[in-house]
Amino acid sequence: MTRITLGGAVLRGTVSTALVASLMSAPALGAAPVDLSKWSPEYVRSIAGTQDFDTAADCAKVTPLDYKGRLTFWYQGVFEGDPDLLRQYYKDFFETFRKTYPNIQLEDQALTYNDLLDKFRTALLGNAAPMAVRLQILGGTEFASKGYLQPLKPEDVGYSTEDFWPGAMKAVTWDGVTYGVPTNNETMAFIWNADIFKRAGLDPDKAPATWDDVVKYSKQIHDKLGIAGYGLVARKNAGNTPYRFMPQLWAYGGGVFDEATANPTYKQIELDSPQSKAALQASYDMYVRDKSVPVSALTNQQADNQPLFLAGQLGMMISHPSDYNVMLDLQNRATGTDKDKAQTVINNMRYGLIPTGPDGKRAVVFGGSNIHILKPEYVEGGKVDEPAAKAIICMWTSPEWSLKMAYAGSNPGNLNGFKTKWMKERLDSIKFLDVTTSMLPYGIPFPALPQSPEIMNIIVPDMLQNALTGAMTVDQAADDAAKRVKELMGGGL
């Protein structure tokens, strides 16, 4: 049914040594439990289901199972755009933890991606933070650089640094010290509706090869069918925006700094480079010139694109593998003829690699989350129960749970998760998973800087909005954004 020409694309991607090197900079790569140099859908399939792990036994070595303590824990939890399957796994995890460690009094609190940073920052100002926190990948460096976090490396919770993606380890490292353990890592993929492609006169089983093609396809879909072509997202203070614009920016050869290179220094600002402006121009062309994307892109986020896609009103978008499950959930809730329409869209869902830039560069945000332990002075009550915190971290970052907690929407932070039976089950049950795991080697982490949240959540979306609303020209918007990054890096007010 689905014919995705992955082989050639993946091969080319694997040869993109610069990007791969950026992700594989760990010295002990040869000894890694999963050989990242062989990364391909076939390799992932070959290792899936080859090893069993006893999570409780492994974590008992870190914190005895009869340990008595109390833990306050905040985490970025499921939100409205996640599938029900993931909700169930989160529920299962906390039930299992409480059963495994019956004497640890766990006070857990789930927060959405967009709320977590604000609430956590505020709590820190009042020394009222939780003992442990699971933050989005973007947040770790900010809090480590400010001295809020305790040094914490995978070895402290029973694993090896080589068990995790080197790119993910970069995101939890500040000034040479590791301050957290990755829980999950993800790369998104390109999704399209084959039926819409067909009706618009496009090849229904072929994703746009380049971002210039995305612009063309989007226009063609809009002109022929009167619906939105590409699901542009440009809302401010929403994580979805950088996750969708940065792959485009990097593919054109641009960037905020040199974060897309093998050894980034973050010294040179690139937002006003001709390549970055070309990427912004592509968004401008779709939104302003062709009017081929949702008008609501400036106030919407990805959760708003999902129902549009399911309603057959959107041709293409960047998203997680979990979107297939989200569509199934939404379809289950639909009634009458809507249910049939939704089924047609699901039957026509196709996943492919994210398009390249004009020079064949393919990129995607290397996303995910990390777990950290706070220093006692910033925690409510002034005490941190370290064994209890390490128990939950060991469990969440175990091969079993780092996979289960990322079952539908992401990938396990612990690479051994790819070897578990649940990975095998996942490959069989989650459609299109191959595509998103294939994107992993193209993943580029956000700049590991304390200023990154402001750059990604405010400055980059502002740049997009300034250009797309006509408040500034493309050149002015890019120059303005570069100037703001420069001021920010200079410690300006």
């Binding site: 900010e142 809302r235 106030t299 405010i458 609303t469 500034m472």
Partner: protein, 315 residues
């Protein structure tokens, strides 16, 4: 209860003042807990905000490592383009919302003041926007306005009144008026209730006497009703203005201040500076300026209330 004025204290010296305080020690004891709470939750935050407004707080530093910059935050604010844009948005938002909500509320109050069948039901219906959650209302209006699939757009397209749905909240030119409409919808019932209460105080015999003297409806309203409502109108307008100056939920939820800062008002901008960008110092300086402006409103509010009390006392 006895009100001690400065005049009393200075005329009689410190000793009589202290004696009076001692005589009323029980009264002071009763209000002491409230004053203590006020000091903790109001006075200290105000002091800390003022202090913080003289510091730079770069995102790479903890708040305790803040850098003293004197009045630089204030000069940076006043010399920034965004300040003037946000101030202009705030003034438009506050004045338009306050004026239109008041006029609409007043008109509804006048209409509902008459006796007619279904008045009670209509009054209950009109109060609904004010009693429902602002958060829920914001999300509902966001979908009503949705630039691609909003209800308004769908109706206009369905009836052939527009080729494509109008762009309400994704355009820099229409976003603020669109949000103001939502705010007015939320607030006019408050003005209506206040003015309905005020209308109860207008003496019937005066209106009847004016009618006997040949005054028409407009003359009765202008010369009899309105003068009686002057104070309640002032208070209503001031309360609406203060609420609008401090309004956060509707613009933040519906647009987050966007697109391109076109719907940022002071309070949303302060929130973004503080929590999104961690510019606690600049955000504090903004807050101090906002506090001073609101204190002016507070002054006029107290004056209006005092005016009422004096009138009541002399009547």
């Amino acid at each position: 209860m006895t009100i001690l004025t400065g005049k009393t204290g200075t005329r009689g010296g410190l000793r009589p003042l202290l004696r009076k305080i001692w005589e009323h020690r029980a009264d002071y004891a009763y209000v002491l807990p409230a004053i203590a709470v006020m000091l903790i939750v109001i006075a200290y935050p105000i002091y800390y905000t003022v202090e913080l407004s003289f510091f730079n707080t770069p995102p790479g530093l903890q708040l305790r490592d803040k850098i003293f910059v004197g009045v630089d935050n204030y000069t940076a604010i006043l010399s920034s383009e965004i300040f003037w844009k946000v101030t202009s948005n705030t003034l438009i938002w506050t004045l338009a919302s306050t004026f239109i909500a008041f006029v609409l509320g007043f008109a509804c109050a006048l209409a509902l003041h008459r006796d007619f069948v279904g008045r009670g039901v209509l009054r209950a219906i009109l109060i609904i926007p004010w009693v429902i959650s602002a958060v829920a209302a914001s999300y509902i209006w966001k979908w009503i306005y949705h630039s691609d699939f909003g209800i308004i757009g769908a109706v206009l397209v369905q009836f052939g009144l527009a080729d494509r749905p109008p762009n309400f909240i994704d355009s820099v030119s229409t976003v603020l008026p669109s949000l103001i409409v939502v705010n007015i919808w939320r607030e006019f019932p408050f003005a209506m209730i206040m003015m309905m209460a005020g209308l109860q105080t207008v003496p019937d015999q005066l209106l009847r006497a004016a009618k006997v003297d040949g005054a028409n409806a407009w003359q009765r309203f202008w010369h009899v009703t309105f003068p009686h409502l002057r104070n309640v109108s002032t208070v209503t307008i001031l309360l609406l203005a203060v609420a609008n100056f401090n309004s956060f939920i509707i613009p933040w939820i519906m647009t987050g201040g966007g697109p391109s800062n076109a719907s940022h008002i002071w309070i949303t901008h302060i929130y973004e500076l503080a929590f999104g960008r961690q510019r606690w110092g600049v955000a504090s300086a903004y807050s101090v300026l906002l506090f001073l402006i609101l204190m002016m409103f507070g002054y006029f509010y107290v004056r209006a209330l005092s005016g009422n009390e004096r009138k009541d006392g002399s009547a």
